[in-house]
Symmetry: C2
Subunit: 356 residues, 2 copies
């Protein structure tokens, strides 16, 4: 499919949605994006795997990265795209997360030929699956210069309002052990599931930290997300595992988060299985201030974890800003309001053309 | 294979073990047992499926049923049988549970031609799996007269000591419900796993009833035997299920057991999934008294559930009495001491020939 960058962003979103690009199947969409960008002679286009980068090189005093992933979660009978003209809602897999954002980026690429700050547009693969496949991560490792910038905008759905920073996430297994016995003689064993009572009691007593950072109130959470134990219907179980997920505010490091979880479950066997750092809002840099002002001044904290933390790790302040309600991401009835797409495009253009 | 009933019970046990008879595959062993019994003209032999019954009809004043199941749990690299002459231990699948008992029954069938009480020997299928396949249950339904008796002995492994009655068993699912939410905004949901804390707290406070019945102290137990909950690593779970197993003393009915469990978990969603009644020891009938005296007077309570409860339901007092340590039933290294086999055979013979 040939993408038409001269049309409107809504039509372009539809075209992108209709190129199925479930994670690990991004070649067709990356080819289409690359082919659409290559004729634009104000951009230098490069490609790594199915990640496409387009940069201006105007020697501006500031550089901003705008990034959006090209992949989606698996199909769920939600293709092709369907525009409901009456409600102004575009439905379809990836419409919200985040092909509407990609369409806005492509429109900016085609129409803002002399932005007031240098632009790096990153269309990347593998965001919805394990980090090892993440195109932004790979790019940061192989070509870190391509991500160097004063500020970054990640087009994650955020209701077309800036969501700053992101919370970190840590998963751990809290394990209890016991001794098997036949359940008819249960006193000969030690029940590992019963021991989990204390783990759950502590979780029920947990009080969430809600630190205010750069004027934004974050909100942590510590939850059991899975539990399993049991050998057979007539056996006292000798092991029970509670999988907990700690979402921590960006003023806490991964190490600090791990320490908190270990202390919280002191006396139990705790194994951290997965962890990703948060990102501080970083709203005090000039590029961020100017951007927020340009989009109306409203800023919310981002509770979920997003790739803004990868920019943060590279020393680039970053925010989330994209069309669509994140509550509908990954849902069967994923959709995006046309008004969000148009507003995001307009606000980005206004910001990038201001003072010219 | 042809079974040799003129040899000793240990060799016969070996022969039975070597006829693989995992539940639902009992035809070969039932054929062999039937073929070995048919030539014995003091017995009337009948068959229902893979359950074989052999009866004397001597018009004695009392009748005793001796029953043993022919099936085993699944193979676990523990065939063929292996006799360790040095330790006097016979190893192999089913050696303990309960082909040694079957061998003793076959030796009694072949050698006690004029017992002092009429004998009904039942070799039955499908004990180790769902009750619908249980040969003793099917026989009781289709030919209840064949199970009519004054007393019954079930050759369940019991260290060659009488274990009287059995405890009942009830399984129930205790369920909590919540509301899903993304774990990054956990306060928007209700965590069903956390709610299970109270279920486990109650289990940890549980104090087991230990009623004394006919001089035997039973010992109840209420345990979580399985727990599961969880949707995904980033989702607040909306359901958690604790599977509990209540083992209740035989002075409590199934209905009483269910009422206890429902009251114990009041406020939670409780669904009974499975239940089987216990059996009172019933040691006050003359046949039981005489038997216990013949085997040395020692009696222990049976904590596990066994098919004695089926006899109990038919109004036939029953005890467990068989070679082998029940702790090794269903284990990879299942085994039976030769001494147990010999002692059980001798004691049964002495009892059945006393006064002749």
């Amino acid at each position: 499919m040939t993408l038409d960058l001269t049309g409107d962003a809504v039509t372009l979103t539809q075209q992108l949605v209709d190129i199925e690009s479930v994670s690990r199947n991004e070649q067709a969409i990356a080819d289409a994006v690359e082919a659409a960008l290559l004729p634009l002679d104000h951009l230098r286009v490069s490609r790594l795997g199915n990640t496409v980068v387009a940069r201006t090189e105007l020697g501006r005093g500031e550089r901003v990265v705008i990034a959006g992933h090209l992949d989606t979660v698996p199909l769920n009978h939600n293709l092709p795209a369907r525009l409901d003209a009456e409600t102004g809602i575009l439905h379809g897999l990836g419409s919200c997360d985040m092909k509407a954002g990609d369409a806005v980026m492509l429109r900016i690429a085609a129409t803002v030929r002399e932005p007031n700050r240098d632009l790096t547009l990153v269309f990347y693969e593998g965001e919805e699956i394990e980090g090892e496949f993440n195109g932004l991560r790979m790019l940061g490792e192989s070509d870190p210069d391509l991500l160097t910038a004063d500020f970054a905008i990640l087009m994650e759905p955020s209701d077309a309002v800036v969501e700053a920073g992101c919370q970190g996430t840590l998963r751990a297994e809290v394990r209890t052990n016991g001794e098997r016995a036949h359940s008819a003689r249960s006193w000969k064993g030690v029940n590992a599931i019963h021991k989990v009572g204390e783990v759950l009691d502590r979780l029920n007593r947990y009080e969430a930290r809600r630190p205010v950072i750069d004027g934004l109130e974050y909100h942590e959470g510590l939850n059991a997300v899975a539990i399993h134990g049991g050998v057979a219907g007539n056996v006292i179980p000798d092991e029970c595992v509670v999988e907990v997920n700690y979402r921590f505010a960006p003023d806490r490091s991964q190490a600090g988060a791990e320490q908190f979880v270990r202390e919280f479950f002191e006396g139990f066997d705790v194994a951290v299985t997965d962890s990703a750092p948060g990102a501080l809002p970083g709203l005090d840099v000039p590029a961020a201030k100017a951007f927020i002002e340009a989009v109306g001044g409203e800023v919310n904290p981002k509770f979920g974890w997003t790739d803004v933390s990868r920019f943060s790790a590279l020393g680039v302040p970053a925010v989330n800003f994209g069309p669509g309600d994140p509550m509908f991401a990954h849902k069967q009835d994923e959709h995006v309001p046309v008004e969000h797409i148009e507003r995001c495009e307009q606000q980005l253009r206004d910001w990038l053309e201001a003072g010219l």
